[in-house]
Amino acid sequence: MYRYDAIDQAMLTDRAAEFREQCRRRLAGEITEDQFKPLRLMNGLYLQLHAYMLRIAIPYGTLNAAQLRTLAHVARTFDKGYGHFTTRTNLQLHWIRLRDAPDILDALAKVGLHAIQTSGNCIRNLTADPHAGATAEEADDPRIWAEAIRQWSTFHPEFSHLPRKFKIAVTAAAKDRAAIKVYDIGLRLHRGDDGALSFAVHVGGGLGRTPYLGPLIRERLPARHLLSYLQAILRVFNRHGRRDNINKARIKILVATLGAEEFARQVDEEWDRSDKAAADLPDLELARIRAAFAPRGFETLPPVSARLAEAKAADPALARFARNNVVPHKQPGYGLVNVSLKAPGETPGDASADQMDAVADLAERYSFGEARVTYEQNLILPHVKLDDVPAVFAGLAAVGLASANIGLISDIIACPGLDYCALANARAIPIAQHIATRFAAPELAETIGELKIKISGCINACGHHHVGNIGILGVDKKGEEYYQLSLGGSGEDDASLAQILGPAVPAERVVGAVDQMVEVYLRERQAGERFLDTYRRTGMAPFKEAVYADAD
């Protein structure tokens, strides 16, 4: 994977030193909170309900073992021994002291980590397909392009004061594991019959108060022009974005107002008159980045592992883990091992420092030192020999990370909600815990099959409720926590926005309502149908009837 060069490293060291001085001046009373707040936010430091929260960027969700160990070290030394992986593939530490923040940034900078681009109206930390470099489905390794965008966008002076924050996601596979249609810009790489790489460019997707799926504004952008085209999009946004109204400032509103066609026309006009060569990545630099993501030295192995087959036959728990959590790799004899951070009853996305260390050890020993973070708040060991899956399973089980529930009903996305977040209206974590506990029995979860529940504690939708098969939104109804249920969302290649089921229900009714909807699905489903497929066929009516039948 990409290693920061001397320029990147110097930038991080300087930035950490600069923030140390800013913190000193704040603590000495030389600057006010109003003056300091934008500075700390530019370094990912928020003030939440109980303490400061540090949001650490994990560019395109890729970590090496040393970085993961550093995150564990920081969580153990400066926080309460755990961290929370988010739907933006960042890590949030919820109990940070301002006086420790400079030391934390120093520790992070030593392994090429930072909290830059995790706040503010800039181009934020990028996300990418977490299967990048490991899946046979991809046209190219999307991280090459994500890294190019990272270098281009970091501290980009023209795009440091956008009308609103700006998020970009990149994939190179048909199956969308990066939720590109709900991003400000979603990019999908494609390789033509002639071998030429191009991007399908979606713009103006987003969740929050006004959810949109991003329309396609260009189907085949030659890959070499990626940066000049992004520049043109951002210039149009910078020029026309609604700075007057924070609720209308995201690019999705501009695209929806102008219409995708007119927006695309303006982008093309801007692009045509720009100096493309000045913005586009030189071939030499692209080659340098590409080399950093060169395929690993995989062994030549038979596609099926006799050792794994034997171990699975002897251990049904391992068999279940392999069935649900291990995904085919492009290299025969290897697999991607999903590490669920969703043990039923635990906080979705939380990992203790010991767990992070354990995953780092397993990554080093079995996965070329690499780990990934997914927007579904799980981790991945991307390059594991199938022969080693039993050992990895045992290593994960030893630290409580062997839940075999990837993509199942207990693999729930939840934002921190009112338990931590200053913006939330209601709690999200306890709802997730209750639902996951209800469906904790692995046989039951497997019988139900793929079912994605996503929970947000407020309309900002960090928990992606708009694209949940079952979406749950916490609302404040006359001072009580209520939950609005919606159905039929998907953030993947078959993306759709969930529709509201009916009136919000009180907290204690949420698990029962999910139960009722699952029963409807099990009753109505036809062969091979996932929950989402059944909903799409039957529509809302049977679900609505089941949940609200007893209501007065």
Partner: protein
Amino acid sequence: MKALTANRLDDGEVVFWNAGHWVERFSGAQLFDADEPALEAEGHAKADITHLVDPYLIDVVEAPGGVAPLSYRERLRALGPTNRLDHGKQAAGGADVEVLAQAHGAARSTGRVNLIRRK
């Protein structure tokens, strides 16, 4: 009734005003029956930029066994997160924590007096 709360600058800890000092437990907070002394205390706090962030007044009401912030958000600040009862102020336990944990109802998502957004 009102109380004055803030986050401490250097570590972010939730604190409450009591006669010129800041305490970490809600049970130690000074309760104001009248507006004038409450606003005066808030004025002091706002001027103290080297120790505090964002001081504001919250509504406090009678609760079984004592008093508690009206808003659930403020009760969570005074207790800690409900998913980790070993974290935050609640970890220390005690009768005052119990009062807050048992209080419910009539919560507004923001506990801030005079700060309800009308935009």
